[in-house]
């Protein structure tokens, strides 16, 4: 199994969610995140004083899938999250040893 993590622009969240539902992904976790990559931040002005805001708001989407589903899911996230502008985010995956469903204690892919 693979844990796929995507950090993307907040306004692309709905598109990514829809794309993953179409692929049959049953669950995901979303958290609000902030950070910066090449996009860096933006500038805000209050009473003439300029503030550099380095950390840009993002959403982090986490989903655990079977090894076979990993590539199509990554492709779907990349396609759905892309705007073509700097700051679109990153997607990565790491191997997962085990998954347990809390309610039934099922293990492995059966728990996905």
């Amino acid at each position: 199994m693979k844990l796929i993590t995507a950090v993307v622009k907040p306004h692309r969240l709905d598109e990514v969610k829809t794309a993953l539902q179409e692929l049959g992904v049953h669950g995901l976790t979303v958290t609000e995140a902030s950070g910066y990559g090449r996009q860096r931040g933006h500038t805000e002005v209050y009473r003439g004083a300029e503030y550099r805001v380095d950390l840009v708001p993002k959403v982090r989407i986490e989903v655990v899938v079977s090894d076979a589903d990993a590539e199509p899911v990554i492709d779907a996230i990349v396609a759905a999250a892309r705007t073509g502008k700097i700051g679109d985010g990153k997607v990565w995956s790491v191997p997962v040893d085990t998954v347990a469903r809390v309610r039934t204690d099922e293990r492995g892919e059966a728990a996905l």
Partner: protein, 442 residues
């Protein structure tokens, strides 16, 4: 005008119309202080917003008590020494009952109207020491400051025989001197005593809630009609002129500030619009009942433009006037007080005229002297009070309190539920002490 003549040997005639208007105006001015609390509260960070609100809110209670005990008597009692201070005849409002009349309104109402001015002036200073003042010290500062700074200055300007009005002949309709210049100069003194916030000029200290700021500015503007038009102390044409001048200067102040921002920063901001309106209102406070409508347009515009630059001085000269009490109230107050010397119109003042209307430089000079004297007095005495309190009890919160925020460390509250990642908010909470007695629940 319909008047009601009192029996029992009172020569003055009470006017029901004037009294009704001043009752409403007094309530309007009182609303300005909670409005100011929101205006200031939105500008600070989330960790000290409640403390910011509290510094204003608690001023209502503190100033009211000290005003009734001694403030009113010393400010508006008969002059006892060279136009500098009133007497002690009315300590605890002694000798003033429902039948007493001041002009055409009950003396009790006049005293209450003046009280609401004293309240907001003390509250205004809190903006200069946001995020870092010890609350206990503030509770002592406000009554002491009211008696030693606000009360004498209001006696000079409005009290019977006060030297600024009676001897000097400077004009101040609704409080450019006692309210705006006094609060601004005092704010400067107090922020110098306390020193800058941790991270001043280094950390981003962005306003946490601009809608709150705009709502506060709106409430201030609304209340300002009571402040300015109420200062006529009558429901008449002068009150109407002051009312219209107040609206006008708020508008041109707003436009002036936005104009500067658009040209200087490239963006017209919400905070700029709210600040510009307040700057215009500050400047028209002394002049609303003395200048022509043209004067009101210029006074507001001048304040909006000048104050939008003045708020940057703190970064250049290294004083952390956190919410710009100096940049808006001191500078705006000086603009409005001094421009009376240019735009004073005989139709408004009943005599004195400004430079523009053929009055020469005389009135302008008197306005400058009054502004300088009041500013210097307020700065010096407030600095002394601040230093003394700092030595005796400490006026500055501890570093740890300031880092964590005064809301949690002083008031044991947080303004917002930020969820599990919120500053200092408990990850999970349980009831430690129930306020309800056991058995009150079924």
């Amino acid at each position: 005008m319909e008047t009601v003549t009192l029996s029992a040997g009172h020569a003055s005639a009470l006017s029901a119309g004037d009294t009704a208007w001043l009752l409403a105006a007094t309530a309007l001015v009182l609303l300005m202080t909670p409005g100011l609390a929101l205006f200031y509260g939105g500008m600070v960070r989330t960790k000290s917003v409640l403390n910011m609100l509290m510094m204003s809110f608690v001023s209502i209670a503190l100033v009211t008590v000290v005003w009734l005990a001694a403030g009113y008597s010393l400010a508006f009692g008969d002059d006892t020494f060279a136009g500098l201070i009133g007497g002690l005849d009315h300590l605890g409002m002694a000798g003033i009952g429902p039948a007493d009349v001041h002009g055409t309104v009950p003396t009790l109402l006049f005293a209450t109207f003046q009280l609401t001015f004293a309240i907001i002036t003390a509250a205004l200073i809190s903006g200069a020491v946001a995020d870092r003042a010890r609350f206990a010290a503030w509770l002592v500062f406000v009554p002491v400051w009211t008696l030693l700074v606000y009360v004498p200055v209001s006696h000079w300007v409005w009290g019977p025989g006060g030297w600024v009005s009676a001897s000097l002949g400077a004009l101040d309709f609704a409080g450019g001197l006692p309210v705006e210049i006094t609060s601004g100069a005092s704010g400067l003194a107090l922020c110098l005593v306390l020193g800058p916030r941790l991270g001043f000029k280094k950390d981003a200290m962005r306003p946490h809630n601009l809608p709150m700021v705009v709502m506060g500015a709106g409430l201030l503007w609304f209340g300002w009609f009571g402040f300015n038009a109420g200062s006529a102390l009558r429901a008449d044409g002068l009150a109407a002129a002051a009312f219209l001048n107040t609206l006008t200067a708020g508008c041109t102040g707003l436009l002036g500030w936005l104009l500067v921002e658009q040209r200087r920063d490239g963006h017209p901001t919400t905070l700029g619009a709210a600040s510009g309106a307040v700057a215009g209102l500050v400047a028209i406070t002394p002049s609303c009942g003395t200048v022509s409508l043209l004067g009101a347009l210029v006074v507001g515009l001048a304040a909006g433009v000048l104050c939008s630059y003045a708020v940057s001085w703190k970064f250049r000269f290294n004083y952390d006037d956190s919410l710009d009490v100096v940049g808006v109230h001191l500078v705006g107050g000086i603009v409005g007080t001094v421009l009376i010397g240019v735009f004073a119109a005989r139709g408004m003042t009943g005599g004195a005229e400004g430079l523009l209307y053929g009055g020469g430089f005389g009135q302008l000079g008197r306005q400058l002297v009054a502004a300088a004297a009041v500013g210097a007095y307020a700065f010096a005495v407030t600095y002394g009070i601040g230093r003394a309190l700092h030595r005796v009890m400490g006026f500055r919160a501890s570093e740890e309190q300031e880092h964590t925020g005064l809301d949690l460390t002083v008031h044991a509250e947080t303004a917002y539920d930020h969820g599990v990642l919120g500053h200092g908010a408990p990850v999970s909470s349980s009831v430690l002490h129930s306020a309800q007695k056991a058995g009150s629940q079924p």
